[in-house]
Amino acid sequence: MTDDNKIITLQDGWDNKIKSNAIDVLEDILDTGLKSGKFFSNKNYIEVYTVCYDMCTQRAPYNHSQQLYTRHGETIQAYLETKVLPAIQEKGSSGGVPLLEELKFRWENHTIMNKWYSKFFTYLDRFYVKHHSLPSLSQAGLTAFKTNIYEHVKVGAKDAIIELIDKERDGEIIKKDLILNTVKLYEAMGMGSLETYNNDLEAKLLESTREYYAKKRAEWIVTDSTPEYLIKAEQVLNEESNRVKEYLNTGTEPKLLKVVEEEVLEKVESALLEKEGSGCKVLLANDKSEDLQRMFKLFARLEDGLRPMAEIVQQFISSMGHEVLNQRQARLDAGEKDKNDDPTFVKALLALHEKYLGVIRTDFDGHSVFQKALKDAFVDFVNKNVGNYTNAEFMSTFCDRVLKSGGEKLNEAEVEDNLEKVVQLFSYLTEKDRFAEIYRTHLAKRLLNQRSTSTDAEKVMIAKLKMQCGTQFTAKLEGMLNDLAVGSDQKSEFDSKMREENLKIDFGVQVLTGGFWPTYLYPEVAVPPDMNRCLETFKDWHTKRHQQRKLKWVFSQGNATVKAVYGKKTYDLQVTTLQAIALNALNNGKTMTYTELKETLNLEDPILQPLMHSLSCGKYKVVSKSPSNKKILTTDKFVANSKFSCNMRKIRIPVAIVEASHNSKRVDEDRGASIEASIVRIMKARKTLKHQQLQAEVLSQLAFFKPNPRAIKKRIESLIEREYLERSEDDTNVYNYLA
């Protein structure tokens, strides 16, 4: 119990109470270790605290706050200078683990000391420190440690740590918690900021890490194959990441990993990718999925790491694609006939695409830079044609195989799958309009000859094309399907009308909307009366329903079944409309010369010749020709073949088609029109434009083909002639729009 009236002098209080009972005791314990239990009993603590309290609350001139504060600092300083620093310097003279251990001991001590002094002199913190805006006791203590100890050992400690880390990297087991504690010291020395840690330890660690891995890299790149190297790189990155978690500040992780990535990956990326025998190309060629995945993950960490890899992937796929082209060329060179249908080729392309789509998905996580590589590679070779037919045509005939009955034998799911894949391939074509035109022709054949496997499949394909290219692209195709749908709707109505008329012939009509369907020939054949009655009946019925429409018979299309009686046997001949009319002319054993037939039927040679050839020179000679050679001459005579016989009842007599190569011309015409429409649109909006800009804008507007610059120029000239545009008087490079 203190005597309230007794003033404690500075000398007395300090020497007899504080120093002897607290400071000396504490220093002693710290030096020699805690003997038992606590540092101070509550009683002891309160005694000292009270003395301090009293000394700070006494009225002036006995208020010793300032002196106590000063002495606090001096005490700590003295202790550090005389006891702590020498000890550290002695024990840690050769650095390494001993240094760190001593430092750890002394730092822990200091923490305890700082805490107790703050407790004893708490009252200073509450009023004196605040009043004078001074550092708190514990801050002052910390600063003292920093100045007197830390500054002297920070380099040595840093070296020791780095040495240990390098040892651990080399595989030795080290005292991790020792490092952890020292790291905490560095952190604490920042006094609220990580700057000290960053500058004094982290920065140096990063440097030495860089050196360490630069050396390793130089070794590994020479001795290891790319996959081996990458495995090491992966390991090393994991290690460093764990290292941070175990004993470094978390903020170091990204910086440390970045250094490792730079040294181990970035600096040798090209060398790794292009290594002879194990580089990226080789891995792709050998389907080394795991290695490629690893490579992807590692290079993905680098800022521009994936681009060089994607370039190699693109080149590789491109070369594989060219290989497919070469294989086709080889088949042609070996004598295979060049026709417009090459399913082997298309399947090879589809398989290639499928494979690398898979590789990108599995090994490269579907990353967009690789998807672009795939796309660019395919665009590069898919537009290179081998032989006389375009790849656009092959894709189209392949679709035809898939969609027509009697083509590839596939179930519904397979059909959709194939179509989906062909559409992907199609998306790489520059000449999409060519594909569309050929596709349309095939579709028309399938629809008109009822050779389509399923209308649903047709719709699915058109929907896919629509998604790729927009409504305008598929408008005609949809129109064609619609015509058929309407036709079948109206069929029953017309059938009942037919029954009313009681015509002898079973007759059906498909109405085609002109613009949608391919252009056909309209031979003005002389139709026999029986048939004509059917035509007229339909025409009447149709006109009643649709007054505005104009009908034109397409005799070059259409099928008929002719019941042919040869002696005792009857056959059903499946023939075209024109064949039926020709057979009808030769009914009842009539003989006619070629010229007579030509006149009677009113057909031109290009149509009549193949027609008669099919009936008299083909597999089923239902008509006899004299002379009986394979050529049709105007002097030939034709009569029904009385000796005709066949095992089958139903016989189909094919005839060579006359139309085909309209396709190319049509496409070219449409292109000209598209270019002009585009030019006019652009000029109308801009009024005046330089040639290069006009050209650039036109190219960007055309989605389905890419014209060369001269083609665009020609259309500009044509428009100038027709006075839509003029050349500017002031600048020959500029055009003006003429309203």
């Binding site: 330089k690 040639h691 290069q692 610059p709 001269r710 120029k713 020609k714 500009i716 000239e717 100038i720 002639e721 050349r727 020959t732 490079n733 500029v734 055009y735």
Partner: protein, 123 residues
């Protein structure tokens, strides 16, 4: 023919560039026949050298005539006003064919083909 007869007596030497250009244009339009907006190639081959005498280097004119004579491109069987004028404007703007840059030019394709021919690249 009427024009041909007329021409020798016309001294165009005195005309300055713009005036001459108008005259050059007029000479095309005057020689059109019927409802055609274009001139026959043969007529052009005959007419152009006459009118452009002394206005263009001899070499340029003769190589152009040569080009027209040997070309099998049917689209050049008839020459448009645009092509007629362009030949003159082009020759004035680009005296050295080797400096011609097709990619950046807006001249009619006829000129492009002519340059290809004249610089020795037979297309």
């Amino acid at each position: 023919d009427k024009f041909k007869a007329l021409l020798p007596s016309l001294e165009t030497g005195f005309m300055v560039h713009n005036e001459f250009r108008d005259f050059y244009k007029f000479s095309f339009q005057f020689n059109r026949q019927g409802t055609h907006k274009t001139l026959e190639k043969d007529l052009v081959i005959m007419l152009a050298p006459m009118i452009l005498k002394d206005r263009l280097p001899e070499e340029r004119m003769s190589s152009f005539v040569e080009f027209l004579n040997q070309t099998t491109d049917k689209s050049y069987d008839r020459i448009t006003l645009d092509q007629w004028m362009s030949f003159y404007d082009f020759s004035k703007e680009c005296p050295n064919l080797n400096e011609y840059d097709e990619e950046s030019s807006a001249w009619p394709v006829l000129i492009d083909d002519f340059v290809d021919y004249a610089t020795g690249m037979q297309m």
